[in-house]
């Protein structure tokens, strides 16, 4: 039996499609029901919040799982990152209101959903910051003056533009990755490799 953790939401749908395309599917998995665990043959799949996938995999509750690179960078779990699924390509960036100038005398107030990534980035810049951790709608923070800048995921950048924000620095490209528990990999390598081979075909 092998356990697979899928991330709920848009990215999850895209990724699940890839699995179907590769010949792995679980009846009812895409239906809008309250069911949580789906078993097909000796494969068990389940949806969890994107941020929780690494937890399930690192602790071996899931043998493999799919997580965005952003989440892997934020949580840095001790797992194998076996495959770049390419899905949901985007990037991590610093954004600020049009015409923002950083006078480094004061501490910079940074709103983000990824405190560790933000801290690491600004440390590399030797910039003192105050982190304001939010769960979403980051664009609001600078507009309403809650923060000076934001560190967030950027795809096209349309949302930013619509809110008179502009990207200052795209410093990391992101996409969905297939991760595996290190111990599981040892004892279920055949299955895991097979899944990868099939997913990798394109």
């Amino acid at each position: 039996m092998i356990n697979i953790a899928f991330p709920k939401g848009r990215l999850g749908k895209k990724v699940y499609a890839l699995f179907e395309k590769a010949g792995f599917s679980w009846p009812g998995m895409t239906d809008d029901n309250r069911k949580l665990v789906f078993t097909h043959g000796d494969m068990r799949a389940f949806w969890v919040k994107p941020f929780d996938v690494p937890v399930y995999v690192e602790r071996g509750t899931a043998d493999i799982g799919v997580a965005g690179k952003d989440i892997l960078l934020e949580r840095s779990p001790d797992v194998y990152e076996l495959l770049d699924l390419k899905a949901g390509a985007c990037s991590m960036a610093v954004a600020a209101p049009q015409g923002f100038r950083d006078n480094s005398s004061d501490t910079l107030r940074v709103a983000t959903e990824f405190p560790n990534i933000a801290r690491k980035y600004f440390a590399s810049q030797g910039r003192d910051i105050d982190i304001i951790t939010l769960r979403g709608s980051l664009e609001l923070a600078p507009i309403l003056g809650l923060s000076d800048v934001i560190v967030d995921i950027v795809e096209t950048g349309t949302t930013l533009r619509e809110n008179n924000l502009c990207v200052i620095d795209r410093f990391q490209s992101l996409s969905a990755r297939l991760i595996a528990n290190k111990s599981s990999y040892k004892f279920k390598e055949d299955v895991i490799s097979m899944i990868i081979r099939r997913l990798a075909v394109d």
Binding site: E58, R59, G60, Y80, E81, L82, S183, K186, S193
Partner: protein
């Protein structure tokens, strides 16, 4: 006699017996070390958090994140072979936790003018250790050669490249333009032809164990996670049912040099006994 031994104690004593029979003598931490003693080798320690406290004499001390460094500090004569084993509590913040835990750790160190047989002995003991802990479950010892990796990791992106190797992150290696041979090593699990790239001694060793232990001994280059301290063989042991490595070790001539014992060789491993408790649940 009824000693009410805990699972940790039970395994610790079984292992003490095994190691001492093999001619290893027990090393005991008599004292605490100063924090700066460890600060110098932070990236050798597996947890970035070190439990610090202050002595009444004003010195900033650390509570044992590791035993190996203390054993090394006590090595005076590098021309003699030292064989120690230990059974101590170490203090770490488990990955993902936010509090210090007391972790029972057992391990062995073999330091001095190492011969091939010494290394062979250590790996054999590692496999015996895994067998005892697994108690019928499947187990495997992954091994690789740090020196070989070092020769292939180059440039200022070395750190990131190594990270990718540990994560079997081949796409990452490609993005970083890592050496093709390195990518091949990462790609192919239990890559036996990779052995050909090894120096003779190691090749012989690996062959020996592959034949001797078959499925229980594997070549896996994601095992290499530190090039400053480890230079020769590195290995990591897994037991089915335990989500993380229960045993890890390797040859750390680099560490010895960094601690003032240039030209001295050392190999050993540590066993994290805090995990064994989970096996009961299965």
């Amino acid at each position: 006699m009824d000693y009410h031994f805990s699972p940790e104690e039970f395994f610790a004593f079984s292992l003490r017996d095994i190691y001492s029979r093999q001619g290893y003598s027990l090393f005991r931490m008599s004292r605490f070390e100063e924090y700066d003693f460890y600060a110098g080798a932070k990236d050798f320690l597996t947890s970035k958090h070190v439990l610090t406290f202050s002595n009444p004499d004003g010195r900033l001390m650390a509570l044992r994140p590791d035993v190996t460094l203390s054993i090394i500090r006590n090595i005076k004569d590098i021309h003699q072979l030292h064989k120690f084993y230990y059974d101590e509590k170490v203090y770490r913040v488990p990955h993902g936790a936010d509090a210090f835990r007391e972790i029972p750790q057992t391990g062995i160190e073999c330091i001095g003018p190492l011969g091939l047989d010494d290394i062979k002995e250590v790996i054999a003991l590692a496999l015996e250790t895994l067998c005892v802990i697994a108690g019928g479950r499947r187990y495997v010892l992954d091994a690789a050669h740090a020196g070989l990796v070092a020769s292939l990791v180059n440039g200022d992106k070395g750190g990131e490249i190594l990270k990718c190797l540990c994560a079997k992150n081949v796409h990452g290696l490609r993005t970083l333009n890592a050496d093709e041979r390195l990518i091949r090593l990462a790609e192919i699990p239990n890559n036996l032809e990779a052995l050909s790239e090894f120096d003779e001694d190691t090749e012989e060793l690996m062959k020996f164990f592959s034949e001797e232990f078959g499925q229980n001994f594997r070549v896996d280059f994601s095992t290499v996670n530190n090039l400053n301290y480890y230079n020769g063989l590195v290995f990591r042991g897994f037991v089915e049912g335990l989500p993380e490595a229960v045993l890890s070790g390797g040859q750390y001539d680099g560490l010895l040099e960094a601690r003032g014992l240039a030209g001295c060789h050392g190999v050993g491993f540590a066993v994290n006994l805090s995990l064994v408790r989970r096996l009961e649940h299965d």
